[in-house]
């Protein structure tokens, strides 16, 4: 199949379309970026030079960035017209994932805050 034909057809996730050097290069770039982001994550988590309360948020941002790197360089999700179906499915998946996670954490933390503490739990908290 020629490159020209490739560009006309839809592309399944995971299929890159180019020559061996640029294909391997994309994986090498992806690996390098992922290693850097992982390294920064572990550094951010162990250093004391950063503002404490911001560290958890920073780690989540780094994780989302690394997921993006994996999607682009390993799964070859692009913004090209041949990838529209893959991107739309991904967008829907991400929407549901965020609804489930943020919705649960939000509601459950409020329920936790509104719950009257029972005596046993109070005693446990006193011991700490």
């Amino acid at each position: 199949m020629t490159d020209n034909e490739d560009n006309l057809l839809d592309v399944a996730p995971g299929i890159p379309h180019s020559n061996i050097v640029s294909e391997t290069g994309a994986y090498v770039i992806g690996l390098a970026l992922a290693v850097i982001l992982t390294g920064v994550s572990f550094w951010v988590a162990s250093t004391s030079t950063l503002w404490g309360p911001g560290v958890a948020v920073g780690l989540v941002v780094l994780a989302i960035a690394q997921m993006g790197v994996h999607l682009v360089f390993f799964l070859h999700i692009t913004s090209g017209p041949d990838n529209t179906n893959n991107v739309l499915a991904l967008a829907f998946g991400v929407l549901i994932v965020f609804l489930v996670m943020i919705g649960t954490i939000w509601i459950m933390s409020h329920m936790d805050a509104n719950m009257a503490p029972d005596p046993v739990m109070m005693n446990l908290q006193m011991q700490h």
């Binding site: 399944a12 997921m67 994996h70 390993f74 893959n86 919705g103």
Partner: protein, 212 residues
């Protein structure tokens, strides 16, 4: 072509309009991996529910061990590198398979499988140590959620390892036929997705869990 297009345009959903465009349905090499992509996304939604459960229960330790006492960052760093490198070599195996190179395809697949096995071995070691210290899944709600979330990912990796072995045998026995390549592509999508989920696990469970 123009008359055909005009006919379809004028029928407005009549019997001639298949709703599949002028080219008809896509080939199996597009439809099958796309369906598998939908499965992988639904799998991520399953994991999002487990993450939400874990985030809700992480402080429900019932006086038992907490995240800071249980997790070892050095082990997690090795696990992370093993899985990341296996994702990379899985991509290299796909590049070799696309060019129908038996030696490199099998070579990179076995490296992928071995790195996955290293990951799984370390995870099982961690689980065994925790259970040995009395921090098993029945100890507290936090530990139940932890073993469910991380264990579910581990079960996926185990399934992936079996799949890698199966694909190596199929490529060996049948060669690079179209449907074998298709299965291999689905395997690579599955394996990369496992690494994406691991990124969320090592960040949310291990790194945020061991902040000072």
């Amino acid at each position: 072509m123009t008359t055909e297009a005009a006919t379809i345009g004028l029928t407005h959903g009549g019997s001639e309009d298949t709703g599949l465009g002028h080219r008809g349905p896509e080939s199996k090499s597009i439809v099958v991996p796309y369906g598998f992509w939908l499965f992988v996304l639904s799998d991520m939604i399953l994991f999002s529910a487990l993450f939400a459960t874990y985030a809700t229960l992480v402080n429900a330790t019932d006086g038992g061990p907490t995240t800071n006492q249980l997790f070892d960052r050095n082990l997690v760093a090795i696990e992370t590198m093993a899985l990341l490198l296996s994702s990379f070599t899985c991509g290299l195996a796909m590049i070799a398979a696309k060019r129908k190179n038996m030696l490199w395809t099998q070579g990179w697949l076995i490296v992928t499988g071995l790195l996955g096995a290293v990951f799984l071995f370390i995870e099982l070691y961690e689980f065994a140590t925790m259970i040995g210290e009395g921090a098993g899944p029945q100890r507290s709600a936090f530990l139940s959620a932890f073993f469910t979330l991380v264990g579910c990912h581990g079960a996926h990796v185990t399934a992936g390892l079996l799949w890698i072995g199966t694909m190596m045998a199929q490529i060996w026995a049948k060669g690079f036929r179209e449907h074998i390549i298709r299965r291999l592509l689905c395997l690579s999508v599955f394996w990369h997705a496992l690494d994406i989920i691991w990124v969320a696990i090592f960040t949310i469970v291990y790194l945020i869990g061991t902040l000072p």
